[in-house]
């Protein structure tokens, strides 16, 4: 029980951040709570490095209630060049497949090393690197598409 509560307190903020970024802040706490409830039930299976395993559980829960809320969250940011780049990146990222988004954000947003990100996605590290390379390429391509340019313009003029 002590081990579980230690892992719970250590990993809770990161599971919450993962859930918030993929399912929205409003659902994040419920998903996090459900993640740890499942983890408790399957405590015998919990590895010593629990975070990737927990994020894997959270990922399945997020899939069941996926809802991107980026537009709600970016409204308060002042419109500067950084902001335009920010919107541009978000728009480009949103145009990618869910699989590509996950591959990229596990590293860029959740700070996981490649081996742990691979664990979350249930693939080998080598496969993860291949998928990461392709996802980066597609993100770069998305950033230079007319849609992205239009997004940039619309934010500049709004």
């Amino acid at each position: 029980m002590e081990d579980f509560s230690g892992v719970y307190r250590e990993c809770y903020p990161r599971v919450l951040a993962y859930a918030a970024s993929h399912a929205g802040a409003q659902r994040a706490e419920d998903i996090t709570s459900e993640t740890f409830t499942i983890a408790w039930r399957k405590l015998d299976q919990m590895p010593s490095n629990a975070l990737p395993w927990l994020l894997g559980i959270a990922r399945n829960l997020v899939k069941a209630s996926r809802r991107q809320v980026w537009h709600d969250e970016i409204e308060d940011i002042p419109i500067t060049d950084d902001f335009v780049r920010f919107v541009e990146l978000r728009a480009a990222l949103a145009s990618l497949s869910e699989a590509d988004q996950e591959v990229l954000t596990l590293i860029a947003w959740h700070g996981l090393p490649a081996a742990e990100a691979a664990q979350v996605l249930g693939c080998t590290t080598a496969t993860y690197f291949v998928r990461l390379h392709r996802a980066r390429r597609r993100l770069k391509a998305a950033l230079s598409t007319p849609n992205s340019d239009r997004a940039r313009e619309s934010w500049k003029t709004s």
Binding site: S5, D44, W109, R136, L139
Partner: protein
């Protein structure tokens, strides 16, 4: 390409703030849920006798010297954290037409060598409960907000309880909040049952129930595993004590228990105090007062007071106390003067 990932990292959505109270509340709820048993556990359970026999034979063959029992030091953690849920029953109303109230709350206790912080009456509530089918004396009495104890001199206030925070600087280790027993060092307590009994006798006198109560409190404190085991063995040796063997608890949990006769309360006679522990860890799961004979329309073996140990752990995080509750303010007990 690396710059792209850096840019993407900067486009990270804001991280949500952790609601520490909800986090701890969820943890307390989660760990009361039943756990799945792994295939390995089931396999071990099934073949445990065989494995034990094989182990014994192997030991005899190689004549291993008896290993020193493992001793787990109490550790340098800053706080001993105990989250417990208590509920108790009280008989109230008109003596000709009595009913019961359930007083239900949690206590969050953080203890270090020189400080104790306690959150009392957390999520507390008092609810009326009919002792007979088909009647609701509380409703019939017009749903009074305060109801008189039967056999007592006080009133009980129905409804939510106000949480309270108490912070005290104490020297040494105090047992429960209401206990006067205090130890300079828990580590120095003996791990031999008779010696431990002697040590406890010096504090509470030669009273089996008080010794038993203190031993139970000790088991929920920051003691070593061997001391906890000695306390459980001590309980079994007290006058009138019964070893209960396996005890099934709610939500598919189970443990092993011991019962000691308890003195009568102002409302109940024929009561025993049971302590149920997790046999694997030695940690207490539940302490409860049970009726040994039917009374007040309640059958024998009814619990009248239960303390459930939700968390017993060493932590290094700072105590989490409600921000809107004054420290060492008045405790608004649901038991009030008439």
């Amino acid at each position: 390409m690396e710059d792209l990932m850096k840019d993407l990292a900067q486009a990270k959505p804001p991280e949500p703030e952790v609601d520490r109270e909800r986090m701890e509340r969820d943890l307390a709820r989660i760990i009361t849920l039943p756990r799945e048993r792994s295939v390995r556990t089931l396999f071990l359970k099934r073949f445990a006798p065989l494995l034990v026999a094989a182990g014994v034979i192997a030991l005899v063959v190689v004549l291993l010297p008896k290993p020193t029992p493992p001793v787990q030091p109490a550790g340098p953690a800053r706080w001993w954290h105990a989250l417990t849920r208590q509920w108790s029953m009280m008989i109230v109303g008109d003596p000709a037409n009595p009913y019961a109230v359930f007083i239900d709350s949690k206590t969050d206790r953080w203890q270090s060598a020189n400080q104790q912080i306690t959150v009392l009456q957390k999520d507390g509530d008092v609810q009326p409960f009919s002792l007979e089918r088909d009647t609701d004396p509380w409703e019939a009495a017009g749903r009074p907000a305060k109801v008189p104890q039967i056999g007592g001199t006080h009133l009980v206030r129905i409804g939510p309880m106000k949480p309270a925070v108490q912070k005290t600087d104490v020297s040494g280790f105090q047992m429960s909040l209401h206990s006067a027993a205090r130890f300079d060092s828990l580590d120095a307590l003996p791990a031999d049952p008779p010696e431990l009994k002697q040590a406890l006798e010096t504090i509470v006198g030669n009273d089996p129930y008080r010794i038993g109560s203190l031993a139970m409190e000790l088991m929920a404190s920051n003691v070593r595993q061997d001391q906890r085991q000695a306390a459980f063995e001590l309980l079994k040796t007290l006058d009138g004590a019964r070893f209960l063997g396996e005890v099934r608890l709610s939500e598919e949990r189970k443990g092993i228990g011991v019962a000691i006769p308890a003195p009568p309360t102002f409302q109940f006679s024929g009561v025993e105090t049971q302590l149920v522990i997790d046999p694997e860890t030695g940690m207490p799961l539940v302490r409860r007062d049970m009726l040994t004979a039917a009374q007040h329309n309640l059958p024998a073996n009814s619990p009248i007071s239960v303390e459930e140990y939700l968390l017993l752990e060493q932590v290094t995080i700072d105590p989490i106390v409600p921000q809107d509750v004054p420290v060492n303010g008045e405790v608004e007990s649901p038991i009030i003067e008439r």
